[in-house]
């Protein structure tokens, strides 16, 4: 039976850990709220640019190289969005697993990675993946300029012919407690034909074709920005849930330890009593 003093020390240490997890949970909750707000702020733009791109592509075939499918797909690139920091449950491992499965399925092509976030970078570096570029320590704050920086590099490599297809892998923020790892094809772009909507006879300035070519790079920028925001909000959500679980486990552990402590204490008292009784008996 453990010494009462040892158990007491353990209880104190678990309590301290619980304080930390509780604080982290609250911080994550606040950060998540902000991230969700930022995500909601993009909703109008997101709806509109999708709608416009789809309706334009229904009317003209653009000449942008981003729209042309390649005859042969030899090199596939992935933009992997993960977090810089851990302690967020299965958030990063979901992403990593999805990428690994994808690489296995496409073993006939060479898979290259653009990585956002330290966690995925460490993981794939260990496994000797070919990493084209990494962006780490962005601090979980994603601005449109960050996205532009990433896409600038990605678009350039695409035009240089470094890869033929591009996918985006990120955690989609479904709800506070649920993030789904998602794989989305980004290049070559294809838009769903106008979903049953009436065609409007716009006056195009300049031409529909030129407009489509102009909107395509922006669409790419925005898709990446959107993925970063989803992932950012998801990260905080995942961390909040993980920390909540940790806080609750700490509670359970404290309960168990307190029980053990009391048992040990009672046993010690019983022993003492026995000693006294035995001593008294011996004196008779």
């Amino acid at each position: 039976m453990a010494n009462t003093r040892d158990i007491k020390r353990q209880i104190v240490s678990v309590k301290n850990t619980q304080k930390v997890t509780k604080a982290m949970k609250m911080v994550s909750a606040a950060k998540m709220r902000k991230a969700v707000e930022a995500m909601n702020a993009t909703r109008t733009y997101s709806e509109k640019i999708r709608e416009v791109a789809a309706s334009l592509s229904g009317q003209s075939k653009g000449e942008s190289p981003f729209l042309k499918p390649k005859a042969e797909v030899k090199n596939i690139a992935l933009i992997v969005v993960s977090s810089d920091r851990g302690l967020c449950g299965g958030f990063n491992s979901n992403i990593n697993r999805l990428v690994l499965t994808f690489a296995e399925e496409h073993s006939d092509a060479s898979v290259k990675l653009f990585i956002v976030g330290k966690k995925a970078f460490d993981f794939f570096k260990r496994r000797n993946f070919s990493i084209l570029e990494k962006w780490i320590a962005l601090g979980g704050k994603f601005t449109y300029d960050t996205a532009r920086e990433i896409t600038g590099r990605v678009k350039q490599s695409f035009l240089e012919g470094v890869f033929d297809e591009l996918y985006l892998v990120y955690n989609e923020f479904r709800s506070v407690a649920y993030q789904a790892a998602k794989l989305e094809k980004l290049l070559p772009l294809s838009f769903d034909a106008t979903d049953g909507k009436e065609k409007v006879n716009y006056i195009f300035e300049p031409t529909a074709c030129a407009l489509l070519d102009e909107i395509v790079p922006r669409y790419i920028d925005f898709s990446v920005y959107h993925a970063l925001l989803e992932s950012g909000a998801g990260e905080h959500g995942a961390r909040m849930v993980a920390m909540d679980n940790a806080t609750r486990s700490a509670d359970d552990m404290i309960k168990k330890l307190v029980l053990n402590y009391n048992k040990a204490r009672q046993q010690a008292i019983t022993m003492d009593l026995l000693d006294i009784v035995n001593g008294a008996e011996a004196l008779k």
């Binding site: 733009y45 449109y144 409007v200 716009y202 006056i203 529909a208 922006r218």
Partner: protein, 138 residues
């Protein structure tokens, strides 16, 4: 015919304006244009420049750094690459920024970095112009 245009000005990062207006003026890539209620369906790209709209006789200014504008059934949607409203521009800060970028631009003239500095300068200059206009109007 309706007598109002409903305007939505958004950048990827946020929604800037959503209101009813009487008249809208934008710098299209093919030339400046004014939009009044009853305008035909239009889709145009915008170059960076001044954007203004009037609400009950008061003209509001905004700096728009390129993007697109859609006019459909008296609903005007502007998808700006980035934008700032006249009232929210810090005049002094933009002024110093413009001066700084002017110097930078002179320093990097005819080098590889020129285009980035040119862009920075153009942004600052546009914002300063909008801020000045906004100051005059209030």
């Amino acid at each position: 015919m309706p007598d109002k245009l409903s305007l939505t000005l958004v950048s990827p990062e946020r929604l800037l304006v959503s209101c009813e207006t009487d008249e809208i003026y934008a710098s299209g890539s093919e030339g400046d244009m004014g939009i009044l209620p009853g305008h035909a369906a239009l889709f145009s790209s915008l170059k960076s420049g001044e954007f203004r709209y009037s609400v009950e006789g008061v003209t509001e200014y905004a700096a728009v750094d390129g993007g697109f504008m859609e006019v459909l059934d008296d609903k005007v949607t502007v998808l700006a690459d980035s934008a700032e409203l006249g009232g929210s521009i810090d005049y002094e800060a933009v002024k110093t920024l413009k001066e700084e970028s002017e110097l930078e631009l002179a320093k990097y003239k005819e080098t590889d970095g020129e285009s980035t500095y040119l862009e920075k300068y153009a942004r600052a200059a546009l914002r300063l112009q909008i801020a000045e206009r906004y100051r005059k109007s209030v």
